[in-house]
Amino acid sequence: MIKNVKEVKGKDFNIKRSAAEGRQLSFNDHICIGCGICENTCPVGAIEIASVGNVSRNYFNTEFSGHKKIAQNMVSKPNYVKVTIDEDKCVLCGMCSGLCPADALDLTIGGESIKNMESYPSYEKSMTIDDDECVLCEKCQIACPRDALTVKRDLPKRSDLVTGEIEVDKDTCINCGICEELCPAEAIDVTKEPGSEDIIIDKDKCVYCLVCKKACPVDAIKAVCRSCSYGEYDFDPEKSVTTGNVIIDEKECINCGWCEGVCPTNAATVTKAFEGKFEIDEDKCGECGACIDTCPCNALYFPKSKGSGDMDSSIKIKEEFCIHCGACEKVCPNDALTVKRTKINNTPTNSKAWQDAIKALKN
């Protein structure tokens, strides 16, 4: 008898069919964006999605007006999962996995994901960074709403970027410590204790700004900067470059395009699965912020007031970062939002049933 077995691990779960092919559907709650495409697509009605507005506004971590909640006795409330799948109805066809824009669902057959199988359609979405153009400024890392980017960079040594000469006449030096206090590079260390007076200048830190020389009351410091006049001879251009790379967490990336939007050198390129239109009915919006908390792309925001008593009557969107997933539309309590998908970018498939499922995403 063929039966499905569900294994639950915290908020994640997987469903296996006890048969030779080895089909397994796994769900990762953390990645899920609550768009509900899986629920609409499932051909056997096995999927149910929770009210994601409530789920995304995590009960325990809410800060109200900047302070933690007043109540001392926090009643323990259950943590809800975003998606529930009935393992007795599920037939492990993989449509939910194929059409999930966040890759929170994954069907594997014999251990291999259907994303890697040609017969199964998959979205043509991508996030790439051209290492030749990237200057490791970290703007993408800061902007990414999913913390999917980590910049690893090695800075050049300061001593490879400046050149000069500096010397202290220890006999003249009176260990007053004025140079140490003024040094912007914290390169000077003065010991004042009688009997063990000393002054040490760390040449790896010194930038030859000559402030210490100018301030020294007894002219004990001899220093000269060579960077401008002799830089060409002293510097090795290869050593003055910051090196490193950006690590992309492909599971977390939601292809919102923030990295592409902030990158100053056009090194980041994002392509999206959906093209579409987003509309707000400003009269219906009650500015509760549920959509803002639900949006995985930080595309929605409360507009700033233009002055006392002057306020926009609805939330706003930066549509260039919208992926048209529709999670906001689902969560809006006043039906103020409409998300239309006009084009789906996916690899082809010969299966008519799957083609129809993809077409049905357009609304």
Binding site: S51, N54, P333, N334
Partner: protein, 76 residues
């Protein structure tokens, strides 16, 4: 999920009533803080405590739950 209240915890501050976007749609005068003229709204403060009037209209956005300073209203 459904809306639940605990009147023992309720301070009667009315923040949930004012912040609820469904209340705002049904009864715009709610924003003034003096309550609404109709019982069509989801909830209202009555005699100093929160009371549910039309909880079936709740769309589960979680705004009231988020703003309540003392966990007197929540979705479960």
């Amino acid at each position: 999920m459904e809306l639940k209240v605990d009147q023992d915890r309720c301070l009667g501050c009315g923040v949930c009533v004012v912040s609820c976007p469904v209340n705002a749609r049904i009864s715009p005068e709610n924003a003034g803080g003096a309550g609404s003229k109709t019982t069509e709204t989801i909830m209202m403060v009555e005699n100093g405590f929160i009371k549910l009037f039309s909880p079936d209209k709740c769309e589960e956005c979680g705004t009231c739950q988020m703003f309540c300073p003392c966990d007197a209203i929540w979705l479960e």
